[in-house]
């Protein structure tokens, strides 16, 4: 996921404000059929997927795990990789999801963290992963899902974010790239679609922010992780 500063969409002049420009001819509607073809082209035999673990909650010392995660909480309400590490949207997503699954969301400072998260939104409408970084469509998931878990998704400008995500589509190949004009890949395609779902796109199934799975699947198995209101 390297940043190519030579990309003419990227503003790299000011050290303070890194952002992208969305060209007027960027995609502005959801190209669902194109994306379906893109994903289907990757093939999906049963053998392509292997279960990585069948972990059970009771084999982990949950109290110690919670203690560790909370020790990674920073001055800004966010979380880093390890105790003492700088806050990062990816880590924040993992930690808020974890705290949801362990019923410990009340340990968060939701107002403070929510503020840090909504400050990820740049003038282009896209979200970055931490201050002074470029926006990236995958943060439409890491940041947005975190905001949803802590009940503050309304703190970002949804219309502007939607516009950014749509602009990351490739009209010819289908799929989403990290930012407008770049090459697409399945990773960013997943998070672009999931982000749009969280924003309320009616053409996409509702996605659960904690597990990144369709809500109807979770309803079927009776799993409803905690969310703050």
């Amino acid at each position: 996921m390297g940043v190519s500063i030579s990309n003419d969409h990227v503003i790299g002049t000011s050290a303070q404000l890194k952002d992208v420009i969305i060209k007027p001819d960027a995609p502005s509607s959801l190209l669902l059929d194109k994306h379906a073809d893109y994903i289907a082209a990757y093939g999906s035999k049963k053998d392509d997927y292997t279960t990585t673990n069948s972990g059970k909650m009771d084999t982990i010392n949950v109290d110690k795990a919670v203690e560790f995660v909370l020790s990674c909480m920073n001055f800004d309400g966010g979380f880093g990789c390890r105790p003492g590490s700088e806050s990062h949207a990816g880590q924040i997503y993992c930690c808020t999801g974890f705290l949801s699954l362990t019923g410990q969301l009340h340990q968060l400072n939701a107002d403070l963290l929510g503020w840090w998260l909504c400050e990820r939104q740049l003038p282009s409408g896209g979200l970055n992963g931490r201050p002074e970084k470029l926006p990236d469509v995958c943060y439409s998931w890491w940041v947005l899902a975190s905001l949803k878990i802590i009940g503050r998704i309304h703190w970002i400008d949804k219309a502007k974010l939607r516009r950014f995500i749509l602009a990351c589509q490739d009209e010819e190949t289908g799929g989403f790239a990290d930012r407008p004009g770049d090459m697409v890949d399945p990773f960013h395609t997943l998070f672009g679609v999931a982000g749009l779902s969280l924003l309320g796109d009616e053409q996409i199934k509702a996605v659960n922010p904690v597990l990144c799975m369709p809500e109807d699947v979770l309803q079927r198995i009776g799993l409803q992780p905690d969310l703050l209101s």
């Binding site: 050290a15 303070q16 404000l17 919670v66 203690e67 560790f68 909370l70 020790s71 909480m73 920073n74 001055f75 800004d76 309400g77 880093g80 990789c81 390890r82 003492g84 590490s85 700088e86 806050s87 990062h88 019923g103 410990q104 009340h106 340990q107 400072n109 107002d111 403070l112 929510g114 503020w115 840090w116 909504c118 400050e119 939104q121 003038p123 409408g125 931490r130 201050p131 002074e132 970084k133 503050r152 309304h154 703190w155 970002i156 400008d157 502007k160 905690d226 209101s229």
Partner: protein
């Protein structure tokens, strides 16, 4: 064609590695192959694992000097990897592993590597994390690292990582003095930076204000300084305690409010959380056995024990009284702002003045506006109320993407002010209308409230936490102008109960779960007919 050839070589080498590993081979060729592959793909975690297996094996068959040489060569190889890709998790992790196993580590060299790496990119969190490990392993003094952050902050614009590091160093160097009232013994290992255990002593805190102010005056668009400043202004966390106990003879129950959410289930007497879904809540109810306190001729002394915190609160229910409560009035003033000493107040006053001046020069700078609001909250929340509201309006215009955040934050501050006014007036009425409230919070402070007026606001729904208002006397009449409805005592059983809501044209969300009305046939259709404006109906 060129690429295909390269790919073939790569795949061959990779397959050779896997075969060797499977066969348990840890020879020189394995080292060569993995080095070759990792040079072009340092994110290939499995190969780093295999390489460590090889090195561990070599440790058993070589003497210490040879091991030292091997690992020094490894560090040299890693440096070349990091030059190509300074952001590979695999490379940094391996370097940490090697440094920890090196018989004679050269931590000064490792620190200087970090210095160089950070001079190229001071936001490289891999390098910062590695630096923290080096500092820990080699006992670098905190003061030295603080000076390092000083240098970086002074010279670079992109400072967030440095300010963050500072936030972790400061409390280590200048912890709050043990004799201050908020300190209470050994800090728990998992205390967050917001708790008072990690608070910096006041003298150092004041010096820090100066440092940050220099930063945002030099560059008002440097957001890291403003984030850090907000942390400095943050309030001290309330002491853990039972904040209020309320007893009702009529309902024969006790309501308890804690200073933070707790899980009081399965503790002796039957406690129930007021929050329908969460196990952790700040307010809990205990229903007493019928007849225990119902005779108004009797006096009762109740004690609620919070065994985990070795604290308790007493509440006396006198003869002739139908209810009683007990709460700690000493905390009222410091409910929403940190305790300010005279020194700190005057410092913050001058800070406010300075930031106001900056705001005049930079009228579109949202950081200035927000910080002015935060300073006013810290100094005099009630006195600055009007100005606060005006600044929020400007803020919403200047930073419209986050206007919902500012609306919620403003709502929070107005609720805090209303609670403060309520405390001073010693009444049990919570009235806050026409304040453009978009959210409700601090409901755990409203345990004793009997009347609530939230008319002419912008609330679209009621949070489940509304159930914390255990004393609320729900009068259907007063709901006439409200924009929401609540489900407190599960009394709603007929359509007629909801008739007044038909006059609330802005009512959007109605949560009737737990009410008997949901059991009646055709409830949904009838409710939709009665309340056509409700788009979100929960039964």
């Amino acid at each position: 064609k060129e690429r295909e050839k390269k790919l073939q070589i790569y795949v061959a080498a990779r397959d050779a590695c896997f075969t060797k590993r499977k066969d348990g081979v840890f020879d020189d060729e394995a080292l060569q192959l993995t080095q070759q592959l990792l040079s072009s793909n340092p994110d290939f975690a499995t190969l780093w694992n295999y390489r460590r297996e090889i090195l561990l094996h070599l440790e058993t068959v070589r003497n210490q000097d040879e091991v030292q040489k091997i690992y020094e060569a490894e560090l040299s190889f890693l440096e070349s990897c990091l030059k190509v890709n300074p952001k590979s998790y695999g490379s940094w992790h391996h370097r940490g592993w090697v440094s920890a196993r090196l018989p004679r580590p050269d931590w000064a060299r490792e620190l200087s590597l970090c210095d160089r790496c950070l001079s190229l990119d001071d936001r490289n969190f891999h390098c910062w994390d590695y630096r923290r490990m080096v500092v820990k392993m080699s006992g670098v003094p905190v003061k030295q690292e603080l000076d390092f952050t000083d240098r970086l902050i002074g010279s670079n614009f992109s400072n967030y990582s440095s300010w963050h590091y500072r936030s972790t160093l400061l409390p280590l160097l200048h912890p709050q003095a043990p004799d201050t009232p908020s300190q209470c013994g050994n800090p728990p290992p998992s205390a967050s930076p917001q708790t008072h255990f990690h608070r910096v002593c006041e003298e150092q805190l004041l010096k820090e204000y100066e440092l940050v102010q220099n930063a945002f005056f030099t560059d008002p668009n440097d957001q890291s300084a403003w984030f850090y400043y907000r942390w400095l202004l943050g309030r001290a966390e309330r002491d853990e305690m039972i904040s209020c106990v309320y007893v009702s003879r009529e309902e024969e129950r006790v309501a308890v409010a804690f200073s933070r959410p707790v899980n009081a289930q399965s503790v002796g007497v039957e406690w129930q959380s007021v929050h329908p879904h969460f196990k952790n809540s700040p307010v809990w109810i205990c229903s007493l056995p019928p007849g225990t306190i119902s005779d108004v001729a009797n006096e009762h002394n109740l004690t609620v024990h919070w065994t985990e915190k070795h604290s308790h609160r007493d509440c006396a229910l006198y003869t002739g009284r139908s209810e009683s409560w007990c709460r700690d009035t000493a905390t009222d003033l410091e409910l929403f702002r940190s305790e300010l000493s005279v020194e700190k107040t005057s410092v913050l006053q001058s800070e406010l003045q300075s930031v106001r001046q900056l705001q005049e020069l930079e009228p579109l700078n949202k950081w200035c506006l927000l910080t002015i609001i935060l300073l006013m909250r810290a100094l005099d929340p009630l006195g600055y109320e009007k100005e606060t509201l005006a600044h929020f309006q400007t803020l919403k215009d200047v930073d419209s993407m986050r206007s919902a955040y500012y609306s919620d934050l403003c709502s929070k501050f107005m609720i805090e002010n209303t609670i403060l006014k309520m405390e001073y007036a010693e009444v049990r009425v919570f009235s806050i209308s026409d304040r453009k409230l978009t959210t409700l919070c601090h409901l755990d402070q409203l345990l004793l409230v009997t009347h609530i007026n939230l008319s002419s606001n912008q609330l679209q729904q009621l949070p489940p936490q509304f159930a914390m208002l255990q004393c609320l006397e729900v009068r259907i009449g007063t709901l006439f102008f409200l924009l929401f409805f609540i489900n407190l005592n599960s009394e709603i059983s007929t359509l007629a109960d909801l008739q007044p809501l038909a006059s609330c044209p802005k009512l959007k969300r109605l949560d009737l779960r737990g009410n008997p009305i949901t059991q009646t046939t055709n409830a949904e259709a009838e409710l939709a007919g009665l309340l056509p404006s409700v788009t979100d109906l929960l039964l």
